[in-house]
Amino acid sequence: MSRFPLALRQLLTLAALFGVSASIWAAGADLGQAEKQPTNWTAIGMFGVFVLFTFGVTKWAAAKTKSAADFYTGGGGITGFQNGLAIAGDYMSAASFLGISAAVMVGGFDGLIFSIGFLVGWPVVTFLLAERLRNLGKFTFADVVAFRFAQTPVRIFAASGTLVVVAFYLIAQMVGAGQLIKLLFGLEYWIAVVLVGALMMVYVLFGGMTATTWVQIIKAVLLLGGASFMALMVLSSFGFSPEAMFAKAVEVKTGIAAAAGKAPAEAAAQGFSIMGPGGFIKDPISAISFGMALMFGTAGLPHILMRFFTVPNAKEARKSVLWATTWIGYFYLLTFIIGFGAISFVLTNPQFLDAKGGLLGGGNMAAIHLANAVGGNVFLGFISAVAFATILAVVAGLTLAGAAAVSHDIYGVVIKGGKADSAAELKVSRLTTIALGIIAVLLGIAFEKQNIAFMVSLAFAIAASANFPVLLMSVLWKDCTTRGAVIGGFLGLISSVALTVVSPSVWEVTLGNPKGSALFPYQSPALFSMTLAFVGIWLFSILDKSARAKVDRAGFLAQQVRSETGIGASGASGH
C-alpha cells in the first residue's frame, strides 16, 4: 500500500496544494515525520486488549442501534457527565497529548500558551450556543441553522462546511496515526492507516453514536489516568515542589546550552527562557487571528456540535460542556508538567537520545520516553496503546459527523424533502461511513510524506470562519435570512481556505515560491475570514427583499422562544 499508484498520489497531493509547512502556530499539534522503531509487542498487546474490549462495547451498542436517530445520537440517553468525557476525548487528540508535551519540553511556557488557546473556546460555546443547540437541533448543526430558513441551500452549505472541516481534520489524524504506529509499535505506516480505517468503520457502522461515544469515554479515562500517573510521578520525584521541578529544568536547559558552546551568561539566559514567553508569538495580528481561530473554531467543529444532541435536555447539555472544560483544562495542566518532567528525565538520559542529542524517534516522543522513564516498559506499552486508541476514537467521531451530514442533511432533507424513512436514511449513513473510511485511508496514504502540521489549525480556522458565524447569526439575529447566511457562510469558507493557501507557510514553504512573495503575511486567516463572513451575512441579509426573507424573519420569534425555553424541543432520540 505504501507503493500506492504514484500518479494518483501526486494528483491527490497536488489537488489539495498542501505539503511542508513551517508554521510555528501549528508546531504543537504536529506529529511530523517519524522513524520506524523496533516492534513493540507490549504496546501491540495492550492495544489488542483495548480493541477486543471496544468490540464488546460495539456489540452491545449495535443491539441498541436500530433507527437513524439511534445512529446519530445514541438514542439521547447519554448523561451530561458521560458526554463531557466524550467531548473531552474528542478534543484530547494524540496530537495534543504528544505535540503539546513536546512543545513544552522544547519551549517551556510557550507550550502552555498554545494549549490555553485550545481551551478558551469552551466558555464561549457554553454561554452562547450549548443550550440553544440542544433546544433547536435534532441530529446535526444544520438542523439548528435551517430551523427557520429555506432547507435546501442552508443544508448544502452546512454539509459543505462539515465535510471540508472533517476532511482536513481526518487527514491530520490519519497521517498522525501512521507516523505514530511507526514510532510506537514499530509497524509499517500503511498498516496503521488501514488499521485505523478498518477499526473505525467497525465502531461507526455497527455501533453508531453509542459505540463512538463509549469508545471515546473509555479512551478519555485511560488517557487522563495515564497522564495523571506520569505527572504524579514527576511531581513526587521533586517532593511535590513545583519550584524544584522548574529549577531542575532550567539547570538542564542551561547545561545543554553550555554544552553547545554558549558562554555561561548566555547559557543561563537560554536555560531560564523556558520560564517565560519565547518566540511563539511574534506579531500581534497573527496572535489575535490565531487566537480567534482556536476560540471560535471550537464552536464550529461539526463532530463536537453533534455531541450536544446526544443528551436529553439543555441542563445536561450545559453540564457536558462544564465537564468537558474541566477535563480538558486539567489535561493541559498535566501536559505542562509532563513536558517539564521530560526536560529533567528524558533530555538527561542517554538511553533516549541519539548521537546529536535529539530524541530517539523524533521530537514528539517526549511523553512516550517519559512514560518509559517513570513507569518502565509496561507503562510505555500502555501509553503507546492509549495514544493510538486516541486517534482511532477521534477518527470515528469525525466520520460519524461526516456521515450524518451526507445522510441526514443531503439525502434526508435535500433529496428526499425530509420524508426519508429511517431505514433508508440509516442505510445511506452506513454507505457514507464506508465511503469516508476508504477516502480517509487513501488520503492518509497520499499525505504520508507531507508535513500536515497546519491542517488541524486550518480545520479550526474554517470552522471559525464558516460554521460558527452562520450558526451564531441564525440563532441570535432576527433579520438574518437564508440568502445572507448562505452567501456569508460560503465567503468565510472560501476565504479561509484561500488565505491559507497564500499565507507564508503554504505559499512559500509548500509551493516553493520565493520568500516574501506570499500575498497574505499572517499565519492564521481567521481574523479576516471571520470578519468577511459576518459582514457578508449582515450585508446580504439586510439587502434581501425577497419573499423568502419575509418568511425567514417571521420565523425568528418562534425559534427564539424554543431556543430560550426548550418548549417544543425534540427529544434527542426523535421518538
Binding site: 464561549v124 454561554f127 472544560t325
Partner: protein, 102 residues
C-alpha cells in the same frame, strides 16, 4: 396553534425576564473571557520581560501562575454560568412551560 403557543410565551413576563437576564449574563461573561484571553495574548506579544520576571529568589516567574490562572479562570467562569443557568434559568423556563402548556 404553534403561533398561538409562541404568542402566549412571548406575552409571559417571565419569558421576557428570562431572555433579558440570560442574554445580559451571557454577554458579560463572554466579554470577561475575551478580555482575559486576549489580554493574556497581548501581554505575551507586547510585554515578554514582565512575564519572565522572577517572583522571588527561585526560578518561578509571573508567567507560570498567570498561565495557570487563565486555565482555572476558564473552568470557573464556565461553572458560574452553568450553576446559575441550571437553577435560576431552568426553573423560570419550567414555570413558563407549565403556564403555557396547561
Amino acid at each position: 396553534m404553534q403561533d398561538d403557543l409562541t404568542a402566549r410565551v412571548v406575552r409571559d413576563p417571565r419569558y421576557q425576564e428570562l431572555k433579558a437576564k440570560r442574554t445580559r449574563f451571557g454577554m458579560w461573561l463572554t466579554l470577561a473571557m475575551m478580555v482575559v484571553y486576549y489580554g493574556f495574548i497581548l501581554l505575551v506579544a507586547f510585554n515578554k520581560p514582565f512575564l519572565a520576571t522572577r517572583l522571588g529568589a527561585g526560578v518561578m516567574t509571573y508567567a507560570i501562575p498567570i498561565g495557570f490562572g487563565v486555565i482555572v479562570f476558564t473552568v470557573v467562569i464556565t461553572a458560574i454560568y452553568v450553576r446559575r443557568a441550571n437553577s435560576e434559568y431552568d426553573s423560570l423556563a419550567e414555570q413558563i412551560s407549565k403556564a403555557v402548556l396547561k
